[in-house]
């Protein structure tokens, strides 16, 4: 039987699907968080150079990776919404933005906590820190632009254009800042082999998976609220069990 994928492009049918999917992402996320943190704090060995303080990377690195990925995914959804005029894609873009901003903030915050013992300063004007900060500003710009436009269709489309221009700019900003100054340690996870202990890798990838699942669960939860808010005057919302009571 062929599945009609486009069925779920309609907010009314996606609302129910999202509700059913959330536990399937939320519970594994919670379990993997516990496993990842356990490996990170109790199994992974103490680092030779950075001693115990390095353990914050189990939160810092996945959060940084996700803050960048979410921006691209958000821009992708926004572009889909702009090109094909699908309301749900635009709603997904708006649903992802606060989570992306949150991860950018966590990444900066944990980076500062890591920087103090390692570099002796809370904040260093290094390329990656600076571009992460700019990424946070881009998220905040997207959120505040959408918040200040009252008509949701205009908000979607204006936000989409901004997200697309932003994502074109992200590499330019990244390289500008990199040429400007760099002090950050190079990445330890490379495609050809790695300099990390196996338990550290396990902890890192478990945490990354946990955060991915968390992002999906939270985005689905938020998109459900957005759907309800935007479709509040429709028949199908009025007939929902949770609305009627």
């Amino acid at each position: 039987m062929a599945i009609n994928w486009f069925k779920y492009a309609a907010p009314s049918s996606f609302y129910g699907l999202a509700g059913r999917l959330i536990p399937w992402f939320a519970w594994p996320a919670a379990i993997l968080f516990c496993v990842g943190l356990y490996i990170g704090f109790f199994v992974a060995p103490t680092d030779a150079v950075q001693s115990e303080a390095y353990r914050i990377i189990f939160i810092h690195v996945p959060a940084s990776i996700l803050s960048m990925m979410i921006y691209l995914i958000m821009a992708g959804y926004a572009a889909l919404g702009l090109i094909f005029n699908t309301r749900l894609s635009s709603m997904m873009a708006s649903a992802l933005a606060p989570t992306g901003a949150l991860f950018a903030f966590i990444s900066l915050w944990t980076g500062a906590l890591w920087g103090k013992p390692m570099w002796g300063a809370w904040w260093v004007w290094d390329a990656r820190l600076t571009s992460e900060l700019i990424l946070l500003f881009l998220y905040l710009g997207f959120i505040s632009l959408q918040a200040s436009i009252e008509d949701p269709r205009r908000a979607d489309r204006a936000g989409a254009l901004l997200a697309i221009v932003g994502s074109v700019n992200v590499p330019i900003i990244y390289f500008s800042v990199q040429w400007w100054n760099t002090l950050h340690q190079g990445s330890s996870v490379k495609l050809s082999g790695t300099s990390m202990h196996i338990a550290m890798q396990q902890a890192m990838f478990t945490m990354l998976a946990a955060m991915w699942l968390y992002v999906i669960a939270v985005a689905l939860l938020r998109v459900r609220s957005i759907i309800l808010e935007r479709e509040r005057n429709t028949q199908w919302v009025a007939e929902l069990a949770e609305v009627r009571q």
Partner: protein, 227 residues
């Protein structure tokens, strides 16, 4: 009636915007005075040692130029939007991108060019050398049009919104960071004995890139805002 050619359109829009601005010179002067004022505030705030001032000068001038160009963005489309001219402009058969480009050029001539011209005088306040002043002017000449173009995109997106002025800065400033880095970097390179060529080439590349894309993107943003 003859059909207006593209060049005629560009010419017409630029001349119209310049005429309108000349009728209200205060608007143009305010931006310029703001720029001079902000630059002059820095020595008062950080002290007057010439060594430090020389080092800070390019950064201060560029940040002030960035802020001054934000100040005038609100005027780029809003007057035309309020009196309904913009709606008519969307209806002309010629390309909207070219029309937006003309408005950008007019905006730059009114807000970017005066900054470029006054910058050497401000540079002298900071005891910059002749060579550094030359590079500063060259960098501003290449960089300020990019600021106007990115600004046009922001202004088009926030057209008619409450609190548009602050919002447009929040949207546009992060996108302007590369220009700021290489603009100020060009002067720093010269004062530290290196060549400014790479910085100026990158600024030129930004100028060409944004010349190609931003008028079109800003036109799309206008269409979204005017629906």
């Amino acid at each position: 009636m003859n059909k207006l050619s593209l060049l005629d359109l560009v010419n017409l829009v630029i001349r119209r915007d310049l005429t309108l601005a000349m009728r209200r010179r205060a608007d143009v002067l305010t931006t310029l005075i703001f720029f001079v004022l902000v630059v002059s505030l820095f020595p008062l705030a950080v002290g007057s040692e010439l060594d430090m001032l020389r080092k800070m000068a390019p950064g201060v001038v560029w940040v002030a130029a960035l802020l001054a160009s934000m100040l005038s963005l609100g005027r780029m489309f809003s007057a035309d939007y309020l009196d309904g001219t913009l709606e008519q402009m969307l209806l002309v058969p010629q390309s909207l991108s070219m029309l937006v480009l003309s408005k950008i050029i007019a905006h730059w001539m009114l807000s970017g060019l005066p900054l470029v011209l006054i910058a050497p005088v401000l540079g002298l306040q900071f005891d910059m050398s002749g060579e550094a002043l030359l590079v500063l002017v060259a960098a501003l000449l290449l960089g300020t049009p990019v600021l106007s173009m990115i600004g046009a995109f922001g202004a088009a997106l926030t057209l008619g919104l409450r609190g548009g002025g602050v919002l447009v800065s929040l949207l546009v400033l992060p996108l302007c960071i590369p220009v700021l880095i290489f603009g100020a970097g060009a002067v720093t390179a010269v004062t530290s004995g290196m060549s400014a060529a790479s910085n100026l080439s990158l600024l030129g590349a930004f100028l060409l890139m944004s010349l190609l894309f931003t008028p079109w993107v800003a036109a799309q943003a206008l269409r979204i805002s005017m629906e």
